[in-house]
C-alpha cells in the first residue's frame, strides 16, 4: 500500500502567521505588565506622596459618576424608545447615538465656549433678560464638569446595548408580569431591568474603559487622573519609568473592571440580538405622557449633540476663511491617510487571525486570538508607553550594535511606524469584530466545500471567503478609520515631532485659547464619525 504522509495537521502556515501577529500585538501589553514589577523612576516618591492619592480619588470618582449618569441616561432612553410610541420615537432611535461621534475633548471645550462670556447662552441672557455673569455661567472646568461631559458623550454605549436587550426580551414575560398584578413601573424594575442587567453592565463597562482612556477632557478641565499623570511624567518630568509605572497601575484598573463585568455575566456570552425582530407591540401612553417622553428625549439630544454641534458650525462659519488653507488640507490628508492605512492593516491582520481560527478547530487558537483584541480595553496612553519601550530599546540596540554610531538616532521610535503600530495594538478589536461576524454569517461549509473540491486553503480564502465577507471588510476599515481619527492621547505621545492630526490640532488650538478656530478640525472629525453611526444602527437592528 502506498503511504501518503503529510504534515501534522494541527500546525499550518495560518497558525504560524497568527502567532506572529499575536507576538507583535501582545508585546506592548506584556512590556507594561512586567514593568509593574520593576522599580519606578526617581520622581516616583514625589508622585506617590503628593499626587497618587489624587489620581486614585479622581479616577474612581470619575468612573462612579460616569457609570451612574450613563446608566440613568442610557437605560431610561432605551426603555422609552423600545416600549412606547411617542412623537419622534423612530428618529430618537438613532439620534441618541450621535453623541458617540463627539470625542470627549471636543465636547469639553465646546461646552466651555457655549457657557462662556461670549458664548450664545450668556449673549442671549444679556440681551433678553439683562442678566450678567462674570466669567462663565457655570464653571464646568472641574471634576463634576468632566463627569457631565463624559456622561453625555458615552451614554450612547449604554443606550445601544440596553436597547438591543430590551427589544430582544420576550414581551410575554412582561405581559405575564402585568397579569400577575404588577404595574408597569414595578415590572420594569423587577423583570425587564434584571433581565437586561448583563447587557447594561457591558455597556457601562465599555463607557468606563473610555473614561480611563480619556486625556483631553480631564486635562482641559484640570482634573488630575492617571492618564494626565502619565503624560506629565513622560513629557514634563522626563521620567519614563514613572510613566510606565503609572500606566501599569492604570492597567490594573482596566482588568478589575473587565473582571467585575465577567463575573456578573457568569457563563453567558454576551451577544447582540441576531436575526429578524418580531415587531414589538409598543404601548401608546396618554397625550401628556407622550409629550413628556418626547420632551425628555429631545432635551437629552439637544444637550448631548445638537447644541454643541450647532456651536461648532457657528465657529466654523466665523473662522473657516482663516483656517482652511493649504496646511489644513495637508492635515486632513495626513489624518485620513494614517487612519486608512491603519484600518487596512488591521482588517488584514484580523482576516489572518480569523482564518487561522476558521481552519483550526482548536480551543487554544481561539483564546490566543482573543488576546489580540485586548488592546481596545487598554487606555491609549498606556499603549503608547508600552510601544515606546521596546522601540527605544530596539533603537539603542541598532545604533549601539549594528551601526555603532556615536550619535543617538531614532530608527523606530518617534516615527509614523511606531504610531501605526500602536494604532494596530489599540484598535485591533474594532476591525476584528465585524470580520468575525462576517465569517460567522457565511458559515464554514462554503469554505469546506471549496477545499473538498481541490482548492487549497489560501486560494479558497481568496476565491470564496473574502468575496463573501466584502461588506464586513469594508465595515471594519470604516470603523477603525473613524476611531483613529478621533484618537488623541496615543497620538499625542507617539507622533513624530511636529506631526499633527486633526485631533491633535483641534486639541492644541483649544488649549491655546483658539477655540473657535479649532472647530474646523473638530467638525471634520465629527462629520466622519457620524456616517458609520447611522450605518452601525442599521447593523444592530
Amino acid at each position: 500500500m502506498e503511504v501518503l504522509k503529510r504534515n501534522y495537521y494541527w500546525w499550518n502556515k495560518w497558525t504560524g502567521y497568527s502567532l506572529l501577529i499575536l507576538l507583535l500585538v501582545a508585546t506592548p501589553l506584556f512590556t507594561i505588565f512586567i514593568k509593574l514589577f520593576d522599580s519606578p523612576g526617581g520622581s516616583w516618591s514625589h508622585i506617590a506622596n503628593n499626587l497618587l492619592f489624587g489620581y486614585f480619588q479622581n479616577t474612581i470618582l470619575l468612573l462612579l459618576g460616569v457609570a451612574f449618569f450613563t446608566f440613568l441616561l442610557g437605560v431610561s432612553t432605551a426603555w422609552l424608545v423600545s416600549n412606547y410610541e411617542f412623537p419622534g420615537r423612530k428618529y430618537f432611535e438613532w439620534l441618541l447615538i450621535l453623541p458617540l461621534g463627539f470625542p470627549g475633548y471636543i465636547m469639553a471645550y465646546t461646552y466651555v465656549g457655549i457657557l462662556d462670556y461670549t458664548g450664545p447662552l450668556q449673549v442671549f441672557l444679556r440681551n433678553t433678560f439683562d442678566i450678567n455673569f462674570r466669567g462663565s455661567v457655570i464653571d464646568i472646568m472641574n471634576l463634576p464638569g468632566a463627569i457631565f461631559i463624559l456622561s453625555i458623550t458615552l451614554f450612547p454605549y449604554v443606550f445601544l446595548i440596553s436597547r438591543s436587550s430590551f427589544v430582544g426580551q420576550s414581551k410575554t414575560l412582561q405581559e405575564a408580569s402585568f397579569l400577575l398584578g404588577t404595574n408597569r413601573l414595578k415590572t420594569f424594575f423587577k423583570v425587564a431591568l434584571p433581565m437586561a442587567r448583563p447587557a447594561i453592565v457591558a455597556g457601562i463597562a465599555l463607557a468606563s474603559m473610555e473614561v480611563l482612556n480619556d486625556y483631553g477632557t480631564v486635562k482641559y478641565f484640570g482634573v488630575n487622573t492617571f492618564t494626565t499623570g502619565i503624560f506629565r511624567a513622560w513629557f514634563s518630568l522626563g521620567d519614563s519609568s514613572t510613566a510606565i509605572y503609572l500606566a501599569a497601575i492604570l492597567m490594573v484598573f482596566v482588568f478589575v473592571i473587565l473582571y467585575l463585568e465577567s463575573i456578573q455575566r457568569g457563563q453567558r456570552q454576551y451577544s447582540s440580538v441576531h436575526g429578524v425582530q418580531r415587531p414589538t407591540a409598543r404601548l401608546h401612553p396618554t397625550l401628556w405622557k407622550k409629550l413628556f417622553y418626547s420632551g425628555a428625549c429631545l432635551f437629552i439630544f439637544l444637550l448631548s449633540f445638537l447644541f454643541p454641534f450647532l456651536q461648532l458650525i457657528h465657529w466654523v462659519s466665523m473662522t473657516y476663511s482663516k483656517v482652511v488653507n493649504k496646511d489644513f488640507f495637508l492635515l486632513i490628508y495626513r489624518s485620513f491617510g494614517l487612519a486608512a492605512i491603519s484600518g487596512i492593516i488591521i482588517v488584514f491582520f484580523s482576516v489572518v487571525l480569523l482564518y487561522a481560527l476558521r481552519l483550526s478547530p482548536f480551543k487554544w487558537v481561539k483564546n490566543i486570538t482573543k488576546i489580540a483584541t485586548l488592546g481596545y480595553a487598554i487606555p491609549g496612553a498606556v499603549i503608547a508607553v508600552g510601544v515606546m519601550i521596546p522601540f527605544i530599546g530596539l533603537d539603542k540596540w541598532i545604533y549601539g550594535t549594528l551601526i555603532s554610531s556615536k550619535t543617538a538616532g531614532l530608527f523606530f521610535s518617534g516615527t509614523l511606524f511606531a504610531l501605526v503600530f500602536a494604532y494596530i495594538v489599540r484598535f485591533m478589536a474594532v476591525g476584528y469584530n465585524p470580520v468575525e461576524a462576517g465569517f460567522q454569517k457565511i458559515g464554514i461549509h462554503v469554505n469546506e466545500a471549496s477545499r473538498l473540491l481541490g482548492t487549497r486553503s489560501t486560494k479558497t480564502l481568496w476565491k470564496i471567503d473574502l468575496p463573501l465577507i466584502k461588506t464586513s471588510l469594508v465595515s471594519g476599515i470604516i470603523l477603525v478609520f473613524v476611531d483613529i481619527l478621533k484618537e488623541l492621547p496615543l497620538t499625542l505621545i507617539l507622533r513624530p515631532f511636529n506631526y499633527q492630526t486633526l485631533a491633535t490640532k483641534a486639541f492644541d488650538m483649544a488649549t491655546n485659547e483658539m477655540i473657535a478656530e479649532s472647530a474646523n478640525a473638530a467638525l471634520i472629525i465629527i462629520l466622519t464619525g457620524i456616517i458609520p453611526i447611522i450605518f452601525l444602527n442599521r447593523l444592530l437592528k
Binding site: 501518503l4 503529510r6 458559515g443 469546506e448 466545500a449 473540491l453 481541490g454 487549497r456
Partner: protein, 343 residues
C-alpha cells in the same frame, strides 16, 4: 475491492470526556451505497467529516483507494483527498452561477463540457447562468450533487441528504439520487437519522450509537438478526414477553404457545417478536389473549395494543378492515418469534 477502509478510528471532543467515535472499523466496497444511521450525537456526522478530512481522529487508520489518508496524527489534507461531499445546507457558492459552482472543482481544459454533462445527469438543463438563490431547494440539492460528482471523486459523501425535504418529495428524491449514483458507479456514503431513508436507498446500513458501531449489514439481516436490542429497536418496535418453557411449549402471561422446541430450554426465557409477526386472530396451537388497551389506525394497517393482567403490553399489527367494536379482549397468534435467555 474495498474503496474505503477504517480501522480502530477514535475521536474525542476535547471538552467532554466522552468519545465522539470509538474503535470504529469497517470497509466499503466499490460501487456500494452505505448508510450511516444513528440518533443525534451518535457520531455519524463526525465519522463522515473524518473521512472527508475536515476533522482528524485521535488515532486509527483510514485508507482510500488503497492509499492511507489518515494514520494516527498524520493526515492528508482535505483538498488532496479527492472526496466529494454534499452538505446538509448544500453550501453552494452564492456569488457564483450554477455552472461556475459545478466547474469549481474541475480542470479548466474540460470544465465547461464536464460541468454541463453532470448537470444534465442530475436533471438540470437550462439554469446554468442562474445564481443559487434563484433555484428551489430541490434544485439546489441537485447542483450540490453535480458539483460534488463532477470531478470524479473516489467516494461521495452526503450529510443528511433527505432531511430538508417534505414527506411527499422524499420518496421521489430517494429514488432519483439512488439512480444517479448507480448510474455513475460511484461509491457513496450518506448519513441519516431516518431509517426509512437508509432502507430505501442504501445497499448496506451501519448503525452508530454513542460513538460505537453497533452493526453493519444488509437491511434484511439487520432486521431479522439484530445483534442487540438497540439495533433491533432501530427498525421498529420489537415486543418482549417473558415465558416459562415446558415439554410442549411456553407458558406466558398472555396464554400458552405450543412449540416442540420449548423442551430444549430451561429456566425463564424471553420471546421477541415484531408487530407484523403476529395476527389478531385465534389459531390452533396457541391460546393467547389480552385486554385491548389501544387501537391505532394508519390507513394501510392497524396497530393493536394488548395488555396482560400485570400490565405488560404487546403491539400486534393487523389489517385495516378488522373491527374490534364492543370487544374488551382479543385473541392473537404469533407465527414468528425469537427465543432468548432471560437473566
Amino acid at each position: 475491492m474495498s474503496i474505503l477502509s477504517l480501522k480502530q478510528v477514535n475521536k474525542k471532543y476535547s471538552q467532554e470526556q466522552e468519545f465522539a467515535i470509538k474503535d470504529v472499523s469497517f470497509e466499503v466496497e466499490e460501487g456500494e451505497i452505505l448508510a450511516l444511521v444513528g440518533e443525534s450525537g451518535s457520531g455519524k456526522t463526525t465519522l463522515l467529516r473524518l473521512i472527508a478530512g475536515l476533522e482528524h481522529p485521535d488515532s486509527g487508520l483510514i485508507s482510500l483507494s488503497g492509499q492511507i489518508i489518515v494514520e494516527g496524527k498524520k493526515s492528508v489534507p482535505a483538498h488532496e483527498r479527492q472526496v466529494g461531499m454534499v452538505f446538509q445546507d448544500y453550501a453552494l457558492f452564492p456569488h457564483l452561477t450554477i455552472l461556475e459552482n459545478v466547474k469549481f472543482g474541475l480542470k479548466k481544459s474540460h470544465a465547461e463540457k464536464k460541468a454541463k454533462e453532470t448537470l444534465k445527469l442530475v436533471g438540470l438543463k437550462e439554469d446554468y447562468n442562474k445564481y443559487p438563490h434563484q433555484l428551489s431547494g430541490g434544485q439546489q440539492q441537485r447542483v450540490a450533487l453535480a458539483r460534488a460528482i463532477a470531478p470524479n471523486p473516489k467516494i461521495l459523501l452526503m450529510d443528511e441528504p433527505f432531511s430538508n425535504l417534505d414527506a411527499l418529495l422524499k420518496d421521489q428524491v430517494r429514488e432519483e439520487i439512488r439512480q444517479i449514483i448507480k448510474k455513475t458507479g460511484i461509491t457513496a456514503i450518506f448519513v441519516t437519522h431516518d431509517t426509512k431513508d437508509a432502507l430505501s436507498t442504501a445497499d448496506r446500513i451501519a448503525i452508530l450509537h454513542k460513538g460505537y458501531l453497533q452493526q453493519i449489514d444488509i437491511p434484511k439481516i439487520l432486521y431479522e438478526n439484530p445483534v442487540n436490542p438497540y439495533v433491533a429497536n432501530f427498525f421498529g418496535k420489537r415486543n418482549e414477553i417473558t415465558a416459562i418453557p415446558s415439554e410442549e411449549g411456553y407458558y406466558t402471561s398472555f396464554g400458552f404457545i405450543t412449540d416442540p422446541e420449548a423442551k430444549n430450554h430451561t429456566g425463564k426465557i424471553k420471546l421477541l417478536f415484531r408487530p407484523e409477526h403476529g395476527e389478531v386472530v385465534q389459531r390452533d396451537g396457541q391460546q393467547l389473549t389480552g385486554k385491548i388497551v389501544k387501537i391505532s389506525y394508519f390507513g394501510s394497517h392497524q396497530m393493536v395494543k394488548l395488555a396482560d393482567d400485570e400490565g405488560t403490553r404487546v403491539t400486534i399489527r393487523t389489517n385495516p378492515g378488522r373491527s374490534f367494536e364492543g370487544m374488551e379482549r382479543a385473541c392473537f397468534y404469533l407465527w414468528k418469534y425469537d427465543v432468548e435467555e432471560a437473566f
